[in-house]
Symmetry: C2
Subunit: 336 residues, 2 copies
């Protein structure tokens, strides 16, 4: 249970009104009392909440979108979908970037507890392996909806795409276009989307009686230069693949950069397909085959779900798991 | 002069403490008094400021970055630079997207007056032709630093690149590679960067004794489909150009899409160069020649400038205009 101002006042043997004014740095309160109050507040992990009454009435008129990166077209499209709904409701949208760093995510979750926003839409960082910060945020009464990179261990609504089917379809497409050795570039060991896409990849291999090889399941990092090095080693090693299924756009870009440097011809020597919403996929050399997620629609659905909580006065709506379909768009990078 | 809580209390013939509690929806205050206070606050355009004391002491530990779009690599790199500095100072960064809409910009400026953030970094929307909302924000004591798309009529620090030289260099590069008729794709009639880039373009034409033609100076819009239509007409008209200088990345992408559709070969039939920080410029077909801005450094400098204000206790530091150099990167799209 979280510490409220009444508990703080009791512990200090002061009135609630005095504690409240001390926390607001009121001129009516002496410096020494302010210090006492703030020290106790820190000791009890009490979060000063100047927006407390706003929060209860949803008056910040603001929602937060916490995402791992900004250069990814999936997220920019999802944000457009979120903003479309928020605008209808006359809400502001704030964007928080974690850069795949769990410490930043934890920092934001703490920051968002004080009533700055009425609700939170979040797509987890690739490094997030513990959800206490989000559990705490939820327990403070801030509604959370997950999209794309969701958390299975918290009771919240989740908006995702059919990641297993996407992984299966991408891999099957490579097989049908002649690939015999297909590598999977994995984004994270923690994210459920990574694991589902990998399961889809493995299921397709199995269907076509192709052997699963540990050396073709590649763990990547959050550093593009490191990823290019990892892919270089893969493509110059003794058991190199003739097809790559990248679970994220930036990993496909890394493949293109490596192939350009190593003079490996895509699609002749290596076929590449990726989960991606890159708007200029068709302008790349060669154009990139993609599994494209309905990113804008995911954003709309996630925001719609969040506003269902914000608009309910007392009864909490049921949590929902909404799964939208992705689409295979074959282009030059997987041509036979 | 803005209305403060003391003036509000005097007008209502109530104590400051009562007004303050009424605005905070305190249970100690009757509903009827709350309504009186809130009506008067609205009438006098008083912005409830729960963070007032925080603001004076910079305790929101948060800065806002207001930008026109998220899918532009310039802005994502600039944000990375801003976050680098903010992290050193232990500050959070919030991103507000205007989508080139002045009404959204005005809405954010109002929202930011209430002490949610300690300072604001902003790059203007293409539609912004009036700066009252930013003047008001500044007068409320919120420091503002402009970057890239700056405002010449407000006294603030501005961080830009050498837009005139960039425009000159891009145009000269096209001329030196054989272009005889060069079109300029203009981003906005309001933005100073657009006008400076255009001045650079005109200066290069003049240097090489080439005629300035109104029909080759193309006003674009904030709608990609419309821009593609405008470019289609340009490229199929009677006086079509053999070179295009795009003042923004999205306009170059629109050119590529149109040329693909119309089967116009870049660079044989049309050479294209653009202001752009697109990380995958070299992977396009053909690779895109660019004037590349030091976006990350611009972000760092803008944030550094803002923290100079935040860290000064009483004396306001002088405003600065910092101009960083852009770089010509010739690639396939302008090859002879």
């Amino acid at each position: 249970m979280s510490v409220n101002i009444k508990m703080l006042a009791e512990r200090l043997n002061l009135s609630i009104s005095t504690v409240s004014r001390a926390l607001r740095d009121s001129y009516e309160i002496s410096e020494s009392t302010k210090i006492r109050v703030k020290e106790m507040a820190a000791a009890l992990n009490y979060h000063a909440n100047p927006y407390a009454s706003s929060l209860r009435k949803h008056r910040s008129k603001t929602i937060a979108v916490v995402i791992p990166e900004i250069t990814n077209n999936f997220f920019s499209l999802a944000i457009n979908g979120i903003e479309y709904i928020a605008q209808e409701k006359n809400y502001h949208v704030l964007i928080y970037l974690t850069h795949e760093d769990i410490q930043k995510e934890i920092g934001f979750a703490g920051h968002l507890q004080n009533g700055r926003v009425d609700g939170v839409l979040i797509s987890l960082s690739a490094a997030t392996d513990n959800y206490d910060h989000l559990r705490e945020l939820k327990e403070k009464g801030v509604p959370i909806v997950f999209f794309d990179r969701v958390c299975d261990s918290l009771e919240c609504s989740n908006i995702t795409t059919d990641d297993f089917e996407g992984g299966f379809t991408a891999t099957e497409h490579l097989i049908q276009n002649g690939c015999k050795r297909i590598a999977y570039l994995d984004l994270s060991k923690h994210l459920s989307i990574s694991s589902k896409r990998k399961q889809g990849y493995l299921a397709a291999l199995k269907k076509y009686n192709m052997k699963e090889e540990e050396s073709l399941i590649i763990r990547t990092t959050n550093n593009n230069a490191e990823n290019e090095e990892i892919i270089s080693q893969l493509l110059t090693g003794p058991h190199k693949p003739d097809g790559i299924f990248a679970s994220a756009e930036k990993l496909a870009i890394a493949c293109y950069n490596v192939c350009e440097r190593l003079k490996i011809n895509i699609p002749r020597q290596l076929k590449v397909i990726s989960f991606s919403n890159l708007e200029i996929s068709s302008l790349l050399n060669p154009s990139l085959s993609t599994i494209t997620q309905p990113a804008y629609e995911i954003g709309k659905q996630a925001a719609t779900q969040l506003f269902r909580y914000l608009e309910k006065k007392s009864v909490t709506p049921a949590y929902e798991n909404i799964i939208l379909k992705s689409t295979l768009i074959p282009r030059g990078s997987t041509k036979k």
